[in-house]
Structure formats: C-alpha cells, structure tokens
C-alpha cells in the first residue's frame, strides 16, 4: 500500500520534497497514524468500488428497460435483502475504523509514560519561540524556528501562544496540535529516523500565516547534547573590527529593543533570540535560507520579504548594514 501511494505520489506530483508530509513518517506517532491511513484507504476504496459496481450495473441494465412507462408498485424483495446486507457491511466497516482510531489514539497517548525531555514552543505572529531547559544549570535556553530532537527518545512539546491561535504541525513526526492562548497544550514525538523535517503553522493566524514555518532536526542523542550545550553558550564575540562595529549597532541600537543576544546588553523580548542565529537553517520562520545575503536583505527590507511582519525596517547606512550582517552571520 505504501509503495502504491508513493508511486501515485511520484506520478501525480512530479516530486514531492518529502520533508513535510504525513506520507513519509519518520516518527512513531506519525507511523501509527500512517498505518491507520492505509487501513482507512482500503476500507473506503472497497466501499467506493461497491457503489461504482452497483451503479454501473444499474446503468448497464437500463439499456433495455428505459422505453417502458412508470411502474407504480414494483416488487423489491431482493433489494430489501440487499439493503440489509449493505447496511451490515457499512456497520462492520465503521466498527473496524472506529476501533482502529481508538487504538491509534491510545498509542499516541501512551507515549506520555516515556517522556525524557520537555521543550516549550510558543507560537507568535509569525514565528516560533523555542525553549529548552539547560541540563547543566536548569536555566532556559532560548532559540527560534528550529527544533532539535534526540533520535529515539520521546520528547514532550509544550505549546503556548503569545497572541492568537496557531497550530504546530510537523507531519513527518506527528499530527498537529493547536496553540491556543489560555489553553496550554502538549504532545509527544518519538522520532525514529534522523534528518531534517519541516513544520508549519496550520491554523490561520493573520497576514503571514503562510510564512510561519520551522525546521526540525532529528539527530542521535550525543549530537543533540552537543548542540544543546552549544546553544547554552553566550553569543560569540566579534572576530574583526567590522563585526565589532556590527555588534555595537545591534546591541546598542534599535535591534536590542526586540531581540536578545545572551552575553550582551541586548535583552529585548518581543522578537526571536539571536544568540546563535547563524547556526540555524533558515531565517524569518522558514522564509529564507540562512545566508549572509538573505540576512542582509531581510534586515534592509523585511516588509518586502514578509509583508505585514512585525519586524520594522531599521534605517541603516549601507556600511552599517554590512557590519550588522557580518556580525549576525558569525553568530554560530
């Protein structure tokens, strides 16, 4: 079945990327749901074929009957029996599916007993704030729009909203869960295949709902621990005078009103933490690849890249912009 689906996908789509689809599950939860999808496709396909066959047969019979006048009281004994059989078949099919759904739901809930790590994800217009607990110090480590998960471990993702309703959907790993102000939600993921996956906001949340994505990296536990330790460190010091000038502009200029760079005076809260900005795969919640050019373009004209974004354009001279981009691009 999986092969059939994959083949159909290939034929129809001309190449799906594969990192944002429930059809290529890479986590336990997504696998459970995928196997249920297979079951339900078989059952529904069977019923659709039955309807097609019955209707087709009826149309075939019609060829030689259509000339006659109306029949007011037809004898329908056989059809009465067929209706009972049909209803019984539907009941059996629905019972199988209801039970299947119940067991899958239970499997999704059971992962709770195996949680080894908690990550807090906060949805904001239009990006994701992500916080890990530092295993060494117990302090929160903050990043944005990039989630790292240890392979084979069950992680609890706690969801909160800073403004309106969002929905966190990482289809290769799990189904979506809404991010609702006033309603703390959580779900479990148990990734089973390393790699990069993409998630996206699934609940309409305003102008830039289309550009509210995040990348997820699933990596072996040791690599994950190294990454987390790296994220726990303060922002890298500037390596040359241009970067130093950039640092001054960022940490003492308007950027610091919204952004935090740990280890510097910049401690603004409304925007994403930039301490290790350059270590991330993408920029502006999955909108641009993380390159120095993209960074420079984004800072110069955020409204052109993401119309309506809450990030204002800051007027910087070209040389200042170069310095800022040079500094930020070095924040590994």
């Amino acid at each position: 079945m999986r092969r059939v689906l994959a083949l159909a996908a290939l034929l129809l789509l001309g190449g799906c990327a594969g990192w944002q689809t429930p059809l290529d599950p890479a986590g336990e939860q997504a696998r459970h749901i995928y196997s249920f999808l297979e079951l339900i496709l078989w059952v529904c396909g069977f019923f659709y074929l039955l309807v097609l066959a019955f209707l087709g047969w009826g149309l075939w019979r019609a060829r030689r009957r259509s000339a006659e006048g109306p029949e007011i009281a037809p004898a329908d004994r056989g059809l009465d029996r067929a209706l009972i059989v049909w209803s019984a078949l539907i009941v059996v099919g629905l019972t199988v599916l209801t039970l299947g759904a119940f067991f899958v739901d239970r499997a999704l809930a059971n992962a709770q007993a195996r949680e080894t790590l908690t990550v807090r994800v906060t949805g904001q217009q239009w990006w994701w704030r992500i916080r890990y607990r530092d295993p060494a110090t117990g302090r929160w480590i903050e990043t944005a729009n990039e989630l790292h998960l240890p392979l084979g471990k069950t992680t609890r993702i706690e969801l909160g909203s800073a403004d309106v309703i969002h929905s966190l959907w990482i289809p290769n790993l799990a189904g979506k869960t809404d991010v609702i102000p006033g309603h703390p939600n959580a779900f479990d993921v148990t990734p089973r295949a390393p790699g990069w996956y993409r998630g996206q906001c699934a609940e309409f949340c305003g102008a830039q709902h289309a550009h509210m994505a995040l990348w997820v990296k699933v990596e072996p536990p040791a690599a994950f621990a190294r990454w987390l330790a790296g994220q726990a460190r303060s922002a890298a010091s500037p390596a040359d005078p241009e970067q130093a000038r950039g640092m001054k502009l960022v940490t003492q200029g308007p950027c610091a009103a919204c952004h935090t760079l740990r280890g510097t005076p910049a401690d603004g809260r409304p925007g994403p933490d930039l301490t290790h900005l350059a270590s991330r795969r993408s920029l502006a919640a999955g909108t641009l690849p993380m390159t120095r050019g993209a960074l420079q373009g984004w800072i110069a004209r955020p409204q052109a890249v993401k119309p309506g974004t809450l990030m204002p354009a800051v007027s910087l001279s070209p040389t200042d912009l170069d310095a800022v981009a040079a500094y930020l691009a070095a924040l590994q």
Binding site: P22, L23, W57, G58, A67, P70, G100, G182, H183
Partner: protein, 635 residues
C-alpha cells in the same frame, strides 16, 4: 398526464387570478407576497453571488497556480478567502435551498401560498440586507479578512481593528434571521398546509428533506447568532467572553460556532437529497426504493448532525476519550447516508431509467459525493484528522461534499424544474456540455487537493515556495477550476437563451409523479384551480384524472389547513395579501443591525422603528373567523 380540469370554467381562473394577483408595476414588486416571486428573487440573488464568489475563488486559484506568485499580497488573499467562504456558506448554499423550498413546497402540496406569506417577503428583504452588508463594504474596500469562521482572538478587539469583523458578524445576523423566518414558514407550511389525503407517509421525500432541514435550521441558527453577538459585545462594549486575559475562553467561540457549523452542512445537504429523490423517481420511472428507510435515514442525519461538531476541533486539545466518542459519532452518520446512496442506486438499478440532464446530474452527484463522504469518514477519525485538518485535504473534502453533494443536485434541480418555472425546456445538448465541463472540471480541479493536503500543504496560505513541490498539482487544480467555471457559464447561457428559444414545456414534460406538475407551467399566481386530493406517493402516475376538491373561496385569498399527521381538512384560513410592511420592517431591522456596528445604543434606539413597523404589519384587518378553531370567539 394532463392537468386536472374536471369542470372547465373560464370564469373560475379569472376570479382566482383577481383574488391572488399582485398590484402592477413597482408597487407590486415591492409588496408581493407570492411565494414564487419571492423565491425566484432569492434564487436569482444566490446565483449572482455564486458567480461572484466563484470568480473570487478563481482569482485565488490563479494566485496559487505556481509557487511565489505575486498576483495577490497576503491582505488581498485573506480577504478573498474570507469573502468566498462567507458568501458561499451564508449567502448562497443555505439560502438557495430555502428558496427552492419556498418555491416548490406549496406547489408540491397543491396549495396557493406558504403559511406566512409576509414573513417570506420579510425573509428575502433581510437576506438582501445581509448580501449588501458584505458586498457593499467590499466594493468600498472594507472586506472581512479573517476567514468565514472569524475565530477570536484574531477577530477580537486586540487583533481585528476597524470594522471588518463587525461587518462579518452583522452579515451573519441578517442572514440567520432571514433563515429562521424562512424555516419557520417552511415547517408550518409542510405540517399544516398539506393537501387532503397526504398523510406523513404519503409525503414526497423532497418535502421530508425540507421539513427536517428547516427544523435543523431553527435549532442550529441561534448558536451562531449568539456567538456573533458575543463577539460584537467583546469588540464594542468590552465584555470578555473570548479574551483569555479577562477570564474568557476562545474555545467557547469554536464550540458555539461549530454547534451551528456542522448541522449547517446537513441543512445544505438534506434539501439536496430531496432534489435527488425527486429526480430519481421521475427519471427511473418508479417511486424511490425504500421510502421508509429513506425517511428514517434523513431523520437520523438530522439527529446525529447535532452530535458531531467536535470533529472540527480534534486538534484543540480536548480529552482523548472525548475525541474518540466524537469519532464514533462521526462514523455513525455514514450509515444513514450510505443507506440513502444505496436506495437511489437501487432505484436506478430496478427502474426504467431515462438519461436526460437532471438524471445525469444525479449520476454525477453519486460519483462525486461518495468520494466526499468517504473523505469525511477519514477526517472524522480523530487521530488521522490530526494530520488532515487545516490542510488542502479538507479543502478537497468540503468541496466534494458541498459541490458534489449539494451544488450538483441543485444544478440537476434547476434543469428538472426549469420547465415548470418558465414554461420552456432547456437545451439538452448544451445541458450535457455544461454537465461534462462542470463535473469533469470539478474533479480535475479538486481531486489533486487531496494529495496536496497529504503532501503537507496547509489551508489559507497565500503563497508557497518552489522547494515545497506543490506547483504541478496546483496548476492542475487551477485548470480544472477554470474548466468548471466555463461549464457554469455554458449552463447560465443555456438557461437565459432557453427562456426565449426553448421548446414549450406543457404542464408535465417529464411525466413526473408529484403534484407540482399538475398545475400549468409557469404556475399562475393562484397555483391550482382546484385543491388536489392525494391517495398515494405518486398521484400523477395513477390511471385517470387527479381527484380534486372544491369549496375554497374563488374571490378571496384562502388556504386549506389540514391536520399535521393525517392531512385531514380542518378549516379554511384567510391568507394575507400584498403589503409594504415586511419591506419597511426589514429596513428598520437593517438600520438597527448596521447602526449596532457603530454604537451599542443602536440596539435601543433602533427597536422603536422596528416596533412601529411590526405593529402596523400585524394590525388586525381581517374579519373574525366564522369557521375553524377560532370561530367561537367570533361574533
């Protein structure tokens, strides 16, 4: 079978016409209480909006045809999908079904008007107010931009400044009051104005469908009126129903919205099953197989329809066991709908079918709607829905259900009753062309969306990057949609040209079994010269002339009231004549609704003109009754 004319009497029709005719000209247009004129207005308005909202949809499809298109920015796209969804659900799908009922039910019951003719006029004027409420601001550049569902906090005072959200909320109030008025009218007409002999068991399936849908409307609509009023209160007078920081709950909105929103699907779908049943019986040339299972199925749908709203909310984090309960309930509704599909197919299988355009639409309906029903089973299963909800899979599903399940039967119904309404036949050849283009284009356009959803494409995004790999399928989807729109234009052209060039139809061109085919085409203002008497489900297929009864006044407007279950004549009821006051009352209500966007005091001050208009409207002008239950109180 020819229309009944047992006692040819030329003066009879003249006297009836004198009693039932509208005043001429514009005054007649504004004051009419003829259910056919009101319903025709309703239908023409909904069709115009279907076209406009369809064009908005095509515009969105052009924006999505390839990655990174710059045709629309996010603001314009958000306005487009909000306008499209709000129009299609509130201003097209529900009203058009009610309009079909207003037009057809009295004819199917052999009556001369609906139970509350002025209420029908009031309903249309208010509905028109709702239409103008949404589209006039759109023309002025103030379009709601947060979807047809307007979830807070996005629609609340903090995130939805200006009046866009208020316009949406009051558009709802307009249309829901109009829908309630129409539904009450339909229920009363069906229960008390059936022809002698039409027991509930002899009632056509179409009338059953409209009865159940109307009762559902009466039960479901208050929830949405409540929730939009609470939203307006939050926005205007700082209540905190939906603000988490003030102790409110955003999920309350979703519960109330979907407590209306899910039954709404069946309020749209049930009348469509009524069209299908009527068409299938006529063209398979036998009564629909399984009248009793069909009626029970519709009742079950009406009942279950209120017990599954939570399946729109599986991802909001409700208790899992609750989700499983609603999964089972959502699955259960597939049984009655499956039984209906079986009964129609069995009717075709065992009948003597002819394949004119109305029947083609039924076949298109079965092939398309069953896919929508099965994808509904998929989205109804809680764990799977966590992957499907808010993706293009749901976009595909809901269009398969609403277009395949409701619009296809509606188009079939237009083809079927067109000769009755106009006295002319539509072109069969162009009807087939339109059918092929619409059904083919629709399936080509919307089937790929299932796959797009499974490939991770979320709903309501104004653009996507080329790296997502969604371009090809979106291109196909846009081409298919364009093809369906072309088919729609062919169909409209066919309808307009046939008005002039179509063959004359006669009273009963399809040799159909139900009463509406017994009166002339188009029906005169009084509908029937004599009141038909019904002895079974297919009165016009009986040998010999249709039995009729006489004794209703020829010189004043009277309706025959019968008992609710057995259809036994009880008394003659005076029926009201033309009046300007429904329009005046609707204007007064409109002034209050529009004013309440700007100040809460409008509700208080606006009540005065409404009270005056209603007082004059209901001022008794009739003589005391001399027969019927109120006779004893007369002199």
């Amino acid at each position: 079978m020819s229309p009944p004319a047992p006692f040819p009497d030329a003066s009879r029709s003249q006297r009836l016409a004198a009693a039932w005719a509208d005043p001429p000209g514009l005054w007649g247009f504004l004051t009419t209480v003829d259910h056919k004129r009101i319903a025709a207005r309703y239908i023409v308005t909904t069709l115009l909006l279907l076209f406009l909202a369809g064009m908005v949809a095509l515009d969105m499809r052009l924006q999505l045809i390839q990655p990174d298109m710059k045709r629309m920015g996010p603001q314009m796209y958000d306005e487009a999908f909000s306008l499209h969804g709000s129009t299609m659900l509130f201003l097209v799908s529900v009203p058009v079904m009610e309009a079909m009922a207003l037009w057809l039910v009295p004819l199917m019951l052999g009556q001369r008007n609906v139970a509350f003719p002025r209420l029908a006029a009031f309903s249309y004027w208010l509905y028109l107010g709702g239409v103008l409420m949404l589209w006039v601001p759109h023309a002025l550049g103030i379009t709601p931009d947060i979807g047809w569902f307007e979830y807070p906090p996005l629609s609340g005072p903090a995130y939805g400044p200006g009046h866009r959200a208020d316009i949406w909320a009051q558009m709802i109030t307009f249309t829901e009051v109009a829908a309630l008025a129409a539904s009450v009218n339909i229920v009363a007409t069906i229960l008390k104005l059936r022809p002698p002999g039409m027991t509930l068991a002899r009632m056509p399936l179409f009338v059953w469908a409209q009865l159940i849908a109307s009762i559902m409307t009466i039960l479901a609509m208050p929830a949405i009126m409540l929730v939009t009023s609470m939203l307006i209160a939050d926005r205007m007078i700082s209540t905190h129903f939906f603000s988490p920081s003030g102790g409110g709950d955003v999920l309350l909105f979703q519960h109330l919205f979907w407590f209306f929103g899910h039954p709404e699907v069946y309020i749209i779908f049930l009348p469509a099953t009524g069209f299908v049943s009527a068409i299938v019986a006529t063209f398979a040339r036998r009564p629909v197989f399984g009248q009793v299972p069909m009626v029970l199925s519709m009742l079950a749908v009406g009942l279950f329809g209120f017990g599954l709203w939570v399946h729109h909310m599986y991802a909001v984090g409700l208790p899992r066991l609750g989700n499983d309960f609603y999964t089972a309930a959502s699955m259960a509704i597939a049984l009655p709908v499956g039984i209906q599909i079986f009964c129609w197919t069995a009717t075709i299988w065992s009948g003597r079918p002819r394949f004119q355009t109305p029947m083609l639409w039924v076949i298109g309906f079965i092939l398309t709607f069953v896919i929508g029903g099965l994808s509904g089973v998929m989205t109804g299963a809680a764990p799977l829905d966590l992957q499907l909800t808010d993706t293009y899979f749901v976009v595909a599903h809901l269009h398969y259900v609403l277009i395949g399940g409701a619009i296809f039967p509606l188009l079939g119904a237009f083809c079927y009753w067109y000769p009755k309404a106009t006295g002319r036949m539509m072109s069969e050849r162009w009807g087939v062309v339109a059918f092929v283009l619409i059904v083919g284009g629709f399936n080509l356009g919307f089937f790929p969306m299932h796959i797009l959803g499974l490939e991770g494409m979320p709903r309501r995004i104004y653009t996507y990057g080329p790296e997502m790999g969604w371009g090809t399928l979106n291109l196909i989807a846009t081409l298919g949609s364009a093809m369906a729109v072309a088919g729609g234009l062919v169909m409209v052209a066919n309808g307009l040209l046939s008005l002039r060039f179509g063959e004359r139809a006669g009273a009963d061109p399809w040799d159909a079994p139900t009463l509406e085919w017994a009166c002339e085409s188009p029906p005169p203002c009084y509908n029937f010269e004599y009141t038909p008497v019904v002895e079974d489900l297919v009165p016009l297929w009986r040998e010999g002339d249709l039995p009729v009864m006489d004794g209703m006044s020829l010189d004043s407007r009277e309706l025959l009231v019968t008992s609710a279950v057995e259809g036994i004549p009880e008394y003659r009821q005076n029926s009201v004549g033309p009046s300007i006051w429904p329009l005046v009352a609707a204007l007064a209500v409109a002034a209050m609704f529009i004013g309440s966007i700007f100040t809460a005091w409008a509700v208080v001050i606006g009540a005065v003109p409404i009270g005056i208009a209603l007082t004059i409207w209901f001022w008794p002008t009739r003589q005391p009754a001399t027969s019927g239950p109120f006779a004893s109180r007369g002199r």
